[in-house]
């Protein structure tokens, strides 16, 4: 292995000797490996995030919405909704709600706020827990009470409200007494949008005070391990029969995960193709640098052959050089990719995860590129006629 060590050292010397050229050749490899690492790394982060969301919520949740194709003025009615648990045994609990986005001002500061009308079961289904106070109960019917999300509570505190619990929020000219403050929760999944910035009031109050008092969505908990397709059919039938042929759209957590996976695949495909193209370009760059290196060192090759180097010695010398070149590019690319995914996680407020498998992948891919792109130049070098090489 002596020769290997020496080849290794000389490869570094040679690359250092033409460092400007080597560095330029590396750019393609850096971008290529960087995108591959970024892709895998971001993929892992997104996947973990999705899993976290659904773990939080449970996968036994579905949402029922009015179908987009439903253009008649059909509306969910509370009476009918409440009957569903009795009639369909696979539906364990329902939480109808209505929501509307608005802006809340306090002094000069403002926050975009979600006003929601909810039932007690809503907190249970969404796994929402109070930090202070209590949640809305079914006994709060028609009262002007509200529970606020963590971010909204922070906003109130920052803008000068000293007493949150028991304090008041004014919306649409009515004052609501704050009876509870929620812990912060992860967004996404089947959870309604903007829960951390929400004020939640009793459903009955909302139906009376909202400008458009219509129930948008019904969340429901379903029995575990039941075929979702059949359940969907059952629910659609139920509303068709009960609500004068109303068509509904049922979304399950399972389907949402499926959709997320598809999006991830698209994203991976995009980054993957950028990465592959950059790697091909980078590989050609490396091959080019290696070919130049071989032709510049023809006389060295000839001399080494005269002194007893076998073709395989020469070949491995140049192959090692090419692999080292690619590995250096790979190293920088890995750092770049991890940096990019870190920033991605940072700005998405997601948890950053170091993907060790992607680092291994990066080194693996660089080695393969090094071997692949170094092979032809190295073989060219090995097959040079020693006499002609010496004379040049």
């Amino acid at each position: 292995m002596n020769l290997f060590q020496i080849n290794f050292r000389e490869a570094f010397r040679s690359l250092w000797g033409s460092r400007q050229r080597s560095l330029l050749a590396l750019i393609g490899i850096v971008i290529g490996i960087g995108s591959v690492i970024g892709m895998v790394s971001i993929g892992t982060i997104v996947q973990q995030e999705a899993i976290r969301q659904f773990k939080d919520m449970g996968v036994d949740i579905i949402t029922i919405r009015k179908s987009f194709s439903e253009n008649r003025k059909a509306e969910f009615s509370l009476d009918i909704i409440m009957k569903i648990t009795g009639e369909k045994r696979n539906i364990l609990a329902v939480a109808p709600y209505l929501t509307s986005g608005t802006e809340y001002n306090q002094g000069r500061q403002k926050i975009s706020m979600e006003k929601m009308g909810v039932t007690a079961s809503f907190f249970d289904l969404n796994k929402l827990h109070v930090n202070q106070g209590r949640v809305v109960s079914d006994l709060d019917q028609h009262r002007y009470f509200c529970v606020v999300g963590a971010e909204l509570a922070d906003f109130l505190q920052k803008t000068g409200t000293t007493k949150i619990l028991g304090g008041q929020i004014t919306a649409d000219g009515r004052a609501y007494t704050i009876i509870g403050v929620l812990n912060s929760v992860a967004e996404g999944g089947l959870r309604p949008y903007g829960m951390n910035r929400a004020m939640m009031i009793p459903l009955s109050t909302a139906l009376r005070t909202f400008q458009n008092p219509e129930i948008n969505t019904i969340m429901a908990r379903i029995a575990p391990h039941i075929p979702i397709v059949q359940l969907k059919g059952d629910i659609e039938d139920f509303f068709k029969k009960r609500a004068r042929g109303m068509q509904v759209e049922v979304t399950s957590a399972e389907e949402l995960i499926e959709r997320m996976k598809k999006q991830m695949q698209m994203f991976s495909l995009l980054l993957g193709s950028i990465g592959s193209i950059a790697l091909i370009v980078g590989g050609i760059g490396v091959m080019n640098v290696m070919l130049i290196s071989v032709s510049e060192r023809r006389s060295e090759i000839g001399l080494r052959r005269a002194l007893g180097a076998q073709q395989s010695d020469i070949q491995s010398q140049f192959l090692i050089e090419s692999i080292i070149l690619c590995l250096m590019g790979g190293l920088i690319g890995i750092l770049l990719g991890i940096g990019v995914s870190y920033l991605f996680a940072f700005f998405s407020k997601w948890q950053f995860i170091m993907s060790y498998s992607s680092i291994a992948l990066g080194f693996g891919v660089s080695t393969v590129v090094g071997v692949f792109c170094g092979f032809y130049p190295a073989r060219t070098a090995a097959r040079l006629d020693p006499i002609k090489a010496l004379r040049s």
């Binding site: 005269a306 002194l307 007893g308 010695d313 006499i387």
Partner: protein, 226 residues
Amino acid sequence: MNPPMLDIVDIRKSYRVGPTEVKVLKGINLTVAKGELLAIIGPSGSGKSTLMHMLGLLEKPDTGTYQIDGARVAYDDDRTLSTLRNRKIGFVFQQYHLLPKLTALENVGVPLIYRGIKEAEVRKRSLEYLTKVDMQGRANHRPNEMSGGQQQRVAIARALVGTPSMILADEPTGALDTKTGEEIMDLFHRLSRDEGITMVIITHNPGLAEQCGRYVKIIDGMIYSA
């Protein structure tokens, strides 16, 4: 009588240049005894270089046999020939051909590296041979920090370090001024006399050839004894 160090019989070589065949070596016979210092002299275009490549195992003859150190050369594969070059022949070139990025000491060690000898041993032997050519003081210098004569001395140390059967020198003083050239020739004479190393020097310089123990002429692809 000792078997000759080098014995070639009826070696022929021709090249195809376009439609015509050019005969470069037309049946060369040559024997070099152990410890002999032989000069091969000839004008350019005489086939001198081709003969040198043939002796150095860098080229395969069309016909004829080549025996070195009592063994017939089999032109089988690259591995065999590379090993023979590495062990039997020490090259000295007109242009020194030192590797520019390596130090003198490292340059001398190159043939040993290809034998798979451990690095510490390589360094030890390299220094020993640098000392033989009075270049131990320049062990850590790179070729561009040395004069032509000094570089050629390092190249000679490199040719010797593997204790080959013979040294093959191609115009070893061709790129040097007269005085330095004489010094290099003195070194060859000394090595031949003191160490008993077999040497073949190829040159076009008759004066230089006459200093050697024996010289032959190559003219138009044929060898003539002087």
